[in-house]
Symmetry: C2
Subunit: 299 residues, 2 copies
């Protein structure tokens, strides 16, 4: 099968109570595709500027990521600056510069249009719709978003939601879209808007999947040293969909396992700044951590 | 085996966004012993005033709760008034009247002193210490507390903590005692103060158990209609310890299952006001819900 991922490739300046890093590689597409690359060979759709380090693209390719759908433009790469407090679930966005994404008109290579799975990573919903319309007959479509688009692009966002099979969102976002405080009811309300699966990411509290016939709950990996939470949600989605692309099946049991592999990849991401940890994970580390999740919830 | 529970028997006035109930039966001892009564025959230590409904004590006895350690005094029963917002995890205490607990000097009946398991439910830490000292040779001791005692009785509270095997606390309390935001590190810091197991209750996000050699995580039961969250934590502890008293074993696997039975009992409590739901649960409902927890985390 094949997995196409659209999202941002970005440079991020990140401050945590422990450290600060300037203009490191980030963006929803970078995290999601790196996480997915441990399960399949994702094809990415994105745009970067002249300041995006070219050796990173080579590293992406070495990881099996197909970058033919990524364009390099004159100008500056998408930039995000944020700060985390003592509670890693709370972050403040200090600056967002869209830069080369301003005029980005994605044009998918012909083989991308045959994708089986499409992941519309966090990016302007209009771009998500554009990419979705270019894929001929996907078997599974998924999306993620952020508060910014819930506030400023509600109409297009709801259109994307109505067209996808899986909605990934954090608890705050799902509550905001549905105006409902109980997460299970909120999840059911999201189902009414189109998706077959609503995957609610709760940071340190793990993940809930709400589907018509079942609910799945996975606690987060007990991490004692969260270095940088940036990209955890994107890595989750990348691991989730990469695994589904690998097993080529979307049954309940596959979706449940996908959530664990997503949690596994997110648990690695937060162990170091930016994409550093995702660059060095090994298959045996993934297997080991999957077993740790089994053990965590066993009774 | 036998389980002794000390805690409050109280009258509560509770307001939620949906309803209001005045002076209904509550208190940590009531919830914990009712939850435990589905697994064993708990013996309770408490005090109530003239306004405590006598037919409730008969109901306790019918449930197999031994009330010989409960005294009835002149004066008024412990009273608590609280209000919940849209988020059932957030509550405001409007009034607390200690009343007959002011001069309560518990005197345990002889057979209570032979207890195998002692649960020091939420109550003044001085009373917890007093009861603990009266039990000759318990095999397992556990405690719970609230913010009030962390703020006003820190010294005695730390003394209780140093003497028990299991500490039950919610996430906010554990963070407050340890001055640590990461719950896993906070749990480990609690272990250093004495207990062998730290059970962190996170309301709608479930429970984490931190022990020296293992960590267990159980999501909460996906409840779509939380009527009244009062007593969920006490019911959790009651189910947890009642189950251990029933199986007479404190191995890792027993502790993990105890956390699920605790979660099962808490999930019933929140379905109705006060102790109403705990009065009517059946063994087959408990079995069914236990299976639902298995299914929730299966992958």
């Amino acid at each position: 099968m094949s997995l196409v991922i659209i999202g941002s490739t970005a440079l991020d300046t990140i401050e945590t109570p422990f450290d600060r890093r300037e203009r490191i590689v980030g963006g929803s597409c970078s995290y999601a595709s790196l996480a997915a690359s441990y399960f399949t060979k994702p094809k990415i759709v994105s745009v970067a500027g002249e300041d995006f380090p070219r050796e990173i693209i080579k590293k992406f390719n070495k990881k099996g990521i197909d970058t033919r759908g990524m364009t390099l433009e004159e100008g500056k790469t998408f930039f995000w600056e944020g700060r985390y407090g003592q509670n890693p679930n709370q972050r403040t966005t200090l600056k967002t510069e869209i830069n080369v994404f301003q005029d980005f008109k994605p044009e998918l290579p012909p083989d991308y249009r045959e994708a089986d799975i499409v992941f519309l990573g966090t990016i302007d919903p209009e771009l998500q719709l554009d990419v979705l319309s270019q894929v001929k007959n996907p078997q599974l479509t998924a999306m993620d978003t952020i508060n910014l688009y819930i506030e400023n692009r509600k109409k297009s966002l709801l259109e994307v939601i109505s067209k996808v099979d899986i909605f990934f969102g954090n608890d705050e976002e799902v509550k905001k879209i549905t105006q409902e405080n109980n997460l299970i009811i909120a999840g059911r309300k999201m189902l009414e808007q189109g998706p077959s699966f609503v995957v609610i990411k709760k940071g340190e509290h793990g993940v809930i999947i709400v589907e018509d016939q079942f609910i799945s709950g996975i606690p987060a990996h007990p991490c004692e040293d969260v270095r940088d939470p940036t990209g955890a949600g994107d890595s989750f989605a990348g691991g989730f969909l990469g695994y589904l692309d690998q097993v080529k099946s979307f049954e309940e049991k596959d979706i449940r396992r996908a959530a664990v592999y997503g949690s596994v990849m997110a648990s690695f991401t937060i162990e170091d700044f930016g994409t550093d940890r995702l660059m060095t994970v090994t298959q045996s580390e993934i297997k080991k951590r999957y077993k740790e999740f089994k053990n965590l919830v066993s009774f």
